[in-house]
């Protein structure tokens, strides 16, 4: 028994899964509807959008970086897509333009970090503010209705009862997991995050890696933003203010080391599920939703303390 406990303590993912199961059990005991198919799909749906961004953040944090802008970029993307569709731009082209715009934002961020030597925290904070504002400005501050059927299908449609966004989420998870664990790029991200100076002396170009990293989160944010816009039939400038916070919390809860060099994508996945099932539980219990914010803040502090304890022990 002792051995099993020790193993569990060593394997963070296992302990996270246990916590996840405990959360589900507790909420189901209080409110049996919590464990209904409908509600579980609800959890997965909200997990899918936060999750896409969280996967991007996982790459960044492992690489020793951070991006605070995805929430704003998601809102901006949703509004921009709505405007383009209403102007008669075909759906495929709209998606293409929005993603290209997201990549441009990421590239700008990386230029400021690599060449103007700015702090990622500050740069992305500024970008967050800029695009929060722009999301209101380009749409005149209103939510912009979307009528394009196939675009709405991406947000609200399903395949055999499973929402499209969950399918996209699953596909992205598999691809990102393979990139992180099996490719040269993934390995390099761990190295640069573990020790940038040492990586450079070992022949890696950290600037190139950072440039690629900062393309990931805005693209994920723009995809998430478009899916959400599709689901709500409109591009809403206020839509995604919590997205960045949720994504960061999920990654840290999932054992991604703040500071870089360590973490897994499945850890992050469990972190996302944990966070969303908790928030959903609070909503199902009809507790004031503001408590969700309090709870996720507390969760982030707990996760960071655990992260600190791990690092301290390793020293």
């Amino acid at each position: 028994m002792k051995k099993i406990i020790k193993k569990i303590q060593k394997n963070e993912q296992v302990s996270l899964i246990i916590i996840l199961i405990a959360i589900v059990c507790v909420f189901t005991a209080i409110q049996p509807n919590y464990f209904s198919v409908r509600n579980l799909i609800n959890i997965l749906f909200s997990a899918s959008i936060v999750g896409m961004v969280a996967f991007g953040e996982t790459f960044l944090i492992i690489g020793g970086q951070i991006d605070l802008s995805p929430g704003a970029v998601a809102a901006f993307s949703g509004v921009l897509a709505a405007i383009l569709l209403n102007a008669g731009v075909p759906m495929i082209l709209t998606i293409f333009i929005v993603i290209a715009m997201a990549m441009l934002i990421g590239y700008l961020i990386s230029l400021m970090i690599n060449f103007l030597k700015m702090e990622p925290f500050i740069v992305t904070l500024a970008i967050m503010s800029v695009f929060t504002g722009l999301a209101f400005i380009i749409g005149g501050g209103r939510s912009i209705p979307i009528t394009n059927k196939s675009f709405i299908y991406f947000g609200a449609g399903d395949i055999f009862g499973i929402p499209i966004s969950i399918v996209i989420f699953a596909v992205i998870f598999v691809i990102f997991h393979i990139i992180l664990t099996r490719t040269r790029f993934g390995r390099t991200v761990y190295m640069v995050g573990g020790n940038e100076a040492a990586s450079r002396l070992a022949g890696i170009n950290p600037k190139k890696i950072k440039t690629m990293l900062y393309l990931i989160t805005p693209v994920m944010a723009s995809i998430g933003g478009m899916i959400l816009a599709g689901r709500m039939n409109s591009g809403q400038p206020t839509a995604q203010s919590h997205l960045m916070f949720g994504a960061l919390t999920a990654a840290i809860v999932g054992g991604v080391r703040f500071g870089g060099g360590k973490g897994t994508l499945y850890g992050c996945l469990i972190g996302v599920l944990l966070l969303e099932s908790f928030k959903n539980g609070i909503a199902v219990l009809n507790v004031q939703t503001f408590w969700q914010n309090v709870a996720s803040g507390v969760l982030l502090i707990v996760a960071l303390s655990a992260d600190y304890a791990r690092t301290a022990r390793n020293k």
């Binding site: 490719t183 040269r184 390995r187 450079r200 070992a202 022949g203 060099g261």
Partner: protein, 494 residues
């Protein structure tokens, strides 16, 4: 205040004994110089004096009263000020604000009394006869005056013991004159001055007595007028490790020139030219800050090279960053292993294969079998002791971490290896192992640049030795003719 006495001071870092039973006395009204090779224990002693670290045993007595400083603040209250090489000032504040840092005069209404502050500072500036203004911002004045600000701070605190750590390292000749005038004034006022410096010439200009440390041991205290530079150097040297080096297998086959550096200049070094042959171990000796690390970083593309040429195998190569240096067959094991060498949070395997990621990948995907085979092979070759290849490198001993870094360059087929202080922080047994490894690599035809601050190592391993001082090469010595005395003379004297 009459004197300060160090009595039986001992300090041990993780595995290294930094100070062993240090005892000596410095009196008021004298400048007591503290000299010794790199690692002799001067900095450790200063840190103990300033309360920055605590000795394992032993005490400091001021006028016969025993003192134990638990923090820098306690040392300051006891009248001790240490002026370090790195400035301890706030660059955005004024001269006056820095001088009165922790004791700013305050008016009745709790606001800072700037009139009084500037007046008091002006008085100190006049005492020292300096051409600066109390309201000058510190980052607008030269390095020499910044140092004066620190001295004035010590003076304002009425510190009776003022220690200087390499105070002249970034000063010009006229600025040194100014500093010496100030030090003499402090001396005449009856302060104890402890003066740490590598520059023997200055010690003869400024000091009354000289204390020599070697390997953390007190060697001698002499009156400056009764000694000579050569005598001091003789005190500093003479470590007996001869047997260790005699028992090593050496390489006798020196091949063609493999690397030639012609007239390299960077921001930190000037006019560096040297050659190294296949199978040769070229030692780089010099004091800390002589520019050896900076030279190698410039050659390796880690720092910007302002001018100069690098020839490898008689071909002029352009190295713009470390990655292009690696392509040309260079490898660098950096001086600071933990911050620039190892990637702490990652495994032994990943720490080695980082240099060959291109080679072990197909279309961007890692070939794990290939990686494992190459790494396993090299780990066995070098005898790296690790529980598994997946073990985090930080769990290994210093010696084994260093071997992992060597393995990194062996798998990448480096032809020229730059080893910067490869035995620092490694215990004696593991050191001998590293020595043999270095010699074996030379036997395989690698050219090895070996930087070390331990003269015995340099002499024991190198086929030829380059000596540097203040960013320039000051001499070349053949391995067999090199002695510690000759090296130190080139490294210290103008």
């Amino acid at each position: 205040m009459q004197y300060i006495e160090f009595k039986n001071i001992n300090k041990t870092y993780v595995s290294i004994r930094a100070l062993k039973n240090i005892s000596f006395t410095a009196r008021a009204g004298e400048v007591c110089a503290l000299v010794g090779e790199n690692g002799a224990g001067k900095s450790t002693l200063l840190k103990i004096l300033s309360g920055d670290i605590q000795p394992d045993s032993g005490s400091i007595f001021i006028d016969g009263k025993e003192k134990h400083f638990k923090s820098p603040q306690e040392a300051i209250t006891s009248g001790i000020s240490v002026i370090y090489q790195e400035r301890q000032i706030v660059p955005f504040l004024t001269v006056a604000e820095n001088v009165f840092m922790e004791e700013l005069p305050i008016k009745k209404n709790q606001l800072i009394d700037f009139n009084k502050l500037n007046k008091c500072t002006q008085k100190i500036i006049d005492d020292f006869n300096l051409p600066i203004d109390p309201t000058d911002r510190v980052n607008d004045i030269s390095v020499a005056y910044q140092q004066m600000v620190e001295i004035m701070k010590a003076y304002r605190r009425n510190s009776q013991i003022i220690a200087f750590d390499e105070p002249t390292s970034s000063l010009s000749d006229s600025e040194i004159d100014m500093l010496f005038k100030v030090i003499r004034k402090l001396k005449e006022e009856g302060k104890v001055i402890i003066y740490v410096s590598h520059r023997l010439k200055e010690i003869f200009q400024i000091s009354e007595t000289v204390v020599v440390l070697k390997d953390g041991v007190y060697i001698a205290k002499v009156e400056t007028t009764k000694t000579s530079e050569q005598e001091l150097i003789r005190y500093m040297i003479g470590r007996d490790l001869g047997d260790v080096f005699k028992s090593l297998r050496r390489n006798k086959n020196i091949g063609d020139v493999i690397l030639e550096v012609k007239g390299v200049n960077s921001d930190r070094v000037s006019d560096i030219s040297f050659k190294i042959h296949e199978g040769e171990i070229l030692g780089f000796a010099g004091l800390v800050g002589a520019g050896r690390t900076e030279t190698m970083r410039a050659i390796f593309g880690a720092d910007i090279l302002n001018s100069g040429e690098i020839w490898i195998n008689n071909k002029h190569v352009r190295i713009k960053d470390p990655s292009s240096a690696i392509v040309e067959g260079l490898g660098l094991c950096p001086e600071d292993r933990s911050s620039e060498g190892v990637i702490k949070s990652r495994s032994v395997k990943e720490n080695i294969s980082i240099s060959i990621l291109k080679k072990i990948c197909r279309q961007g995907f890692i070939d794990f079998k290939r990686e494992e085979n190459i790494i396993k092979n090299e780990v066995n070759n070098l005898g790296i002791k690790t529980p598994s290849l997946q073990t985090e490198i930080i769990e290994l001993s210093g010696g084994n971490q260093q071997k992992v870094l060597l393995a990194r360059w062996l798998v990448s087929n480096a032809k020229i290896l730059i080893l910067d202080e490869p035995t620092r922080g490694i215990d004696v047994g593991a050191k001998v192992e590293i020595y043999q490894l270095i010699l074996d690599l030379a036997s395989k035809g690698l050219g090895i640049i070996f930087i070390s601050s331990e003269l015995s190592e340099i002499i024991g391993l190198s086929d030829n030795i380059v000596v540097m001082r203040e960013g320039r090469i000051t001499g070349f010595l053949k391995g067999e003719e090199a002695t510690e005395e000759k090296i130190l003379t080139l490294a210290m004297l103008k």
